[in-house]
Symmetry: C2
Subunit: 198 residues, 2 copies
């Protein structure tokens, strides 16, 4: 690309490496940034570096945070005997947005996937088992409803069952507001199997 | 958003300010960056800052470049007597990709838009008129085919006509490979008006 200067090309290439950003979007972003006041651009760059430098895992639940204990683990208003196991911090945030769950979390940072070569040792499973030596009444498995999420859920439940702690799995079924004819067969069957008496 | 730490929230907010990036994409990008090796993230941040610090306008055609004269203006292989007027550097790049235009460019950095309060003084028009005092044989106006682009084209042509320099406008019509039934009426009429004898 002889028509842009090297620095612009490098910027476009770097931006195009981000997930969900293709060549055209990278170009648009690059020229947007080049037209912004220098201070705004410096602030963006510094925020990116700062966040990456200072973020670490919460030593209790392993979510991403900038403190030793995340706000949820350090709160006395949460029920520390109920642990919801999620795949990542975004899933944690999704449940927090409901505002109705008052237990704590455990972030696995992945799911077991033999296809991708991710085994039980590659996610924060050992750390979960260590936490279970405390006084825990229930573990709710909220991994995704994908093949990897289901495999992980099965694996964890088998691991926990012998300890006598209650293990549950969030329900699969038709999403609220979902139109039956638009929903795949597997979900429809799950919704039937998981039917509840009214 | 109590469930993320401040630094993550700030990163998400900064990313969500970029054009075409909504709240969900900003979250996805933020967690992608937090999971990348520190060196990669630092490189991205530095590329952004570097590009913004070192990019300036080419003193001849006003495209964005990191040199005093852009590669096109400093090339002896280009025809410096033909100037193509474009709205921005991306449009310049679009024509450069065709590989068939061997003149030089003039980047306006915008288009006249009374709606947005952008007048002739807000784009690089005075600079274009100054360039025309050199030996120029033709000015090709390649602003967009939008209301603003058309207004700008009309304005420029009226300004240049008295100097006796040839002024032309890129053709409007049916895009190559375009299906007639999918094309709007205005374009169809333009294509009819602009018909060429075979």
């Amino acid at each position: 690309m002889e028509y842009y200067s090297n620095q612009i090309n490098r910027l476009i290439e770097e931006l195009a490496r981000l997930p969900g950003i293709g060549a055209k979007s990278a170009q648009r972003l690059a020229f947007y940034l080049l037209n912004q006041p220098k201070d705004n651009v410096r602030q963006l760059a510094e925020t990116i570096m700062d966040a990456r430098e200072h973020i670490c895992y919460c030593k209790e639940c392993f979510t991403l945070t900038d403190r030793e204990l995340c706000p949820i683990c350090s709160s006395s208003q949460r029920d520390h005997s109920t642990i919801m196991v999620v795949e990542n911090t975004r899933d944690l945030a999704a449940y927090e947005k409901t505002g109705k769950y008052d237990g704590v979390y455990h972030v696995l940072h992945g799911a077991i996937s033999p296809m991708l070569g991710i085994g039980p040792g590659d996610i924060k499973l050992k750390e979960l088992m260590t936490r279970l030596q405390q006084d825990i009444s229930e573990v709710i498995i909220a991994t995704n409803s994908s093949l990897e999420g289901e495999t992980t859920a099965m694996y964890i439940s088998k691991l926990i069952k012998p300890t006598g702690i209650k293990v549950s799995r969030i329900a699969s079924g038709v999403p609220v507001g979902g139109d039956l004819e638009c929903i795949d067969e597997v979900t429809l069957l799950r919704a039937l199997e998981g039917r509840v008496e009214l």
